[in-house]
Amino acid sequence: MLVKFLKKLAVLIPMVFGISLISFFIIHLAPGDPTALFVDPNIDPKELLRIKANWGLDKPIIIQFFYWLKNIIRGDFGIAYLYNRPVLELILERIPATLLLMGTAFIIILLISIFFGVYSAYKKDSFLDKIVSILSFIGMSLPSFWVGLMLILIFSVELNILPSSGFSNPLLSTSPIYLRIYDIFLHLILPVSTMVIVGFAGLTRYIRSTTIEVLKQNYIRTARAKGLPENIVLFKHALRNSLLPLITIVGMSLPDLFAGAFIIETIFGWPGMGRLGVSAVFSRNYPLIMGIVFISSVLILLGNAFADLLYLIADPRIRIDEND
């Protein structure tokens, strides 16, 4: 099995190369260039050509790509324009805040949707199931920027109990560590709530429908026929099987944890990856875009490989099939 997994990982290398090559060309061929931000009557266009040459943008794209590749192999992601700092440094300094926001939201969404999904599948068409359905549809149809602003309006403006933006209160930077952690926790509440409100619906619906399928299976009937208590049927036999597809979802969400959430970050002034990525695209900050694309694609591929591995472990049927 380990060999199989390593083989899978080896296949990833040409894939990463292919993704990098294609995205490099797409990004460089998109109209516009990184000096477009400097359009200002006081800036001489000749200077922009000089700066572009300093950045190596006067060379053919394919040559630029091989330079980039050569550096990547040595672990050098290059220097981002405008910031004039290493791409890796820019990305790494965003990761703590991004993981904190995305991870917290993801875990809460997961817990809520497993609970409500399984429960409403079990009590299908009950009052609570309907309430959960209605709430899911409301959550699904609300735009996150609106929910975010409404939460800010209620909790920051009207009640004035929670901060509306940022990661921490700058005035507390010399306070003891426990106060600062509490402060970060306060800053986390509104953005995470927004993400949970708009994000729990999809997963809940999904778990509900897989659980409904599982509950129809023969082995559930067998378990009940054996006289097993209902909670063991539900949480041992049904839940395990209905959560199998969740592995894929968790695997696929791995890159999201890294990518951040642009809209939430913008509204709440959260210093995450989403803002970095979007502004990199708009300013055609090629090294930065490529750095983010490269890391994301590696994470997506790894996430998928990881999910496959988990399947092998969790689902004996797949193991048997592959041994045939």
Binding site: D33, D44, P45, P96, L100, S164
Partner: protein, 535 residues
């Protein structure tokens, strides 16, 4: 089940703590910043780099303004006044500027600031390897300016020929030579932990969240009265407004739509003042429709600026008629205005041979009076303006199409040699010097900012004269003529001068006169009152 949950919860808490500690890192012990001694500014854009010769965005410049000092600075009346230089002389018919430096200026690390630092800064800008967009400011007709020192307190600027705008370009923040002479300026660590000589010292920068500055007790112009400044980056305009409303920030810009709401806020004073920006509809003059001045004049008459500004800004902007901001000292008000007059517009088009067709669109020699306005996507004001103009021009039989383009692509289109566009709504943000050579001189086409292809020998000559003339009144006459000619020819339809709308917490006092230089020009006079803190 229970066990696993506990483990997950425990792991999560550990990760959380780890992240928090990693993020907060090491702290230095200094005076505690509190709401009573600190001003919190809301910034809309991320700060990219804190080095005045490398940065090109307004957020970075705003922060650098308090950390660094220049030879000169701008006062609230937009005049150039001494900063590090206590005085200067212009010699040799305007070809030599001699700056006499103060003797009491120190870097934030305690070293003394001398003319060698000044020379180092300007030489660095001229260094082609340094990615400074400001380099062109110090090159005149292809010849770089020479910078010399004469002892630690005298700095000389030697120009290849007289060049009036140079004085306005001497205010750029000076860099410390002793910290940078052996470093690659582009990537130096200094750029994220700057050391300047200004009224505030850099303390902390949490990327894309905030920058914290604390007062420089040894500032040469007297230490500031407030202890610190915090810039909080809040990209969303609604969120900025809310932060202001709830007292989380003390100073913020406000969007025109919220202006009336802001005026009702109990904890803030609201200011509106002019900027050095104008927004216009520019025509591609090589296009056969717009090469005829009569079409441009007719469109100018058909533009109802009052209606336009009422619809977009509820009146919070001024109509523009010429290529200079009214706050500029060389502004000429007596220019051709082309006040809204549909009859005149129609008459001019009739006379020019544009005949109304059966589809209510004018045509001439089989060509329809139809063109496209390009607008940068996301700029709501300009997007609205395009729609209103489309509707206004329909009344004189012109068909307007609108195309929204992302900024970078739009700029690419305007800069390309093919000039494949009809017209564009865009704006210029001018410096305090009236020189607008780069916008109007015929040499700046097709590669340059004169992308509309404006070419007028008289204007060319006047622009050249304007930059080489030192005498204020003489220059004023020259720029007055330029404004008159351009306003008459309408290569752009000048649309509006945007206003800066800023709200400032009532606890903050000692602001400067509102104007393009902002409200915090004299930051050392700004103080926070004790009685109005409770907001």
């Amino acid at each position: 089940m229970m066990n696993k949950t506990t483990v997950v919860f425990f792991l999560f808490t550990v990760v959380f703590l780890f992240i928090v500690i990693a993020f907060e890192g090491c702290q230095t012990k200094t005076e505690r910043l509190t709401k009573e001694n600190t001003i919190i500014f809301a910034l809309s854009g991320d700060i990219s780099i804190l080095n005045p010769i490398l940065s090109s965005d307004s957020a970075s410049s705003a922060v650098e303004g308090f950390i660094f000092s220049g030879l000169t600075k701008i006062n609230e009346n937009l005049e150039i006044v001494p900063d590090i230089a206590k005085s200067w002389e212009i010699k040799n018919g305007g070809k030599e500027y001699i700056f006499y430096l103060r003797d009491d200026v120190y870097w934030h690390d305690g070293e003394k600031l001398t003319s060698y630092d000044v020379k180092f800064t300007f030489d660095s800008i001229l260094n082609p390897k340094v990615n400074s967009v400001r380099r062109g400011d110090y090159i005149i007709d292809g010849v770089p300016i020479k910078f010399e020192t004469d002892g630690p307190h005298i700095f000389k600027v030697i120009l290849p020929k007289p060049f009036a705008p140079i004085l306005s370009r001497m205010g750029i923040g000076i860099l410390p030579k002793h910290l940078l002479f052996d470093k690659d300026l582009n990537t130096a660590e200094f750029n994220t932990k700057p050391i300047g000589s200004g009224p505030f010292m850099f303390k902390e920068w949490i990327k894309s969240e905030r920058v914290v500055l604390e007062k420089n007790p040894k500032y040469f112009d007297g230490p500031p009265k407030i202890s610190g400044i915090i810039y909080k980056i809040i990209p969303d305009e609604n969120a900025r407004f809310v932060a202001l409303e709830s007292g989380q920030v003390d100073v913020s810009d406000i969007p025109p739509k919220d202006f009336n709401r802001a005026k009702k806020l109990k904890n803030c004073n609201v200011f509106e003042y002019d900027s050095l920006v104008y927004v216009y509809l520019g025509f591609n003059l090589k296009n056969e429709i717009f090469s005829d001045i009569r079409v441009r004049q007719a469109l100018a008459y058909a533009t109802d600026k009052t209606q336009l500004l009422n619809l977009i800004f509820r009146g919070l902007a001024k109509p523009a008629f010429g290529p200079m901001s009214p706050v500029s000292s060389m502004f000429e008000s007596d220019t051709e205005k082309y006040n809204f007059d549909l009859k005149k517009a129609n008459a001019i088009l009739d006379e020019a041979g544009w005949i109304l067709g059966s589809d209510v669109i004018r045509e001439k020699n089989g060509k329809k009076l139809e063109f496209t306005i390009l607008v940068n996507q996301g700029n709501k004001e300009r997007e609205k303006a395009a729609v209103i103009l489309q509707w206004q021009y329909k009344k004189i039989g012109a068909k307007v199409n609108i195309r929204l383009m992302e900024w970078s692509s739009l700029v690419k289109k305007l800069n390309s040699a093919r000039k494949d566009f009809d017209s564009v709504i865009i704006g210029w943000s001018l410096g305090i010097d009236p020189d607008s050579y780069s916008i109007w001189h015929s040499s700046q086409y097709p590669y340059g900012l004169n992308f509309i292809g404006f070419s007028d020998p008289t204007v060319d000559r006047l622009l050249e004269e304007g930059r080489t003339t030192i005498d204020f009144n003489q220059r004023k006459r020259i720029y007055s003529q330029i404004q008159k000619i351009i306003a008459y020819q309408q290569p752009y339809i000048f649309l509006w001068y945007p206003k800066s709308l800023v709200a400032v917490s009532k606890k903050i006092h000692g602001l400067s006169k509102p104007g393009p230089a902002g409200l915090f020009v004299n930051i050392e006079n700004v103080y926070i009152s004790k009685d109005e803190q409770g907001d």
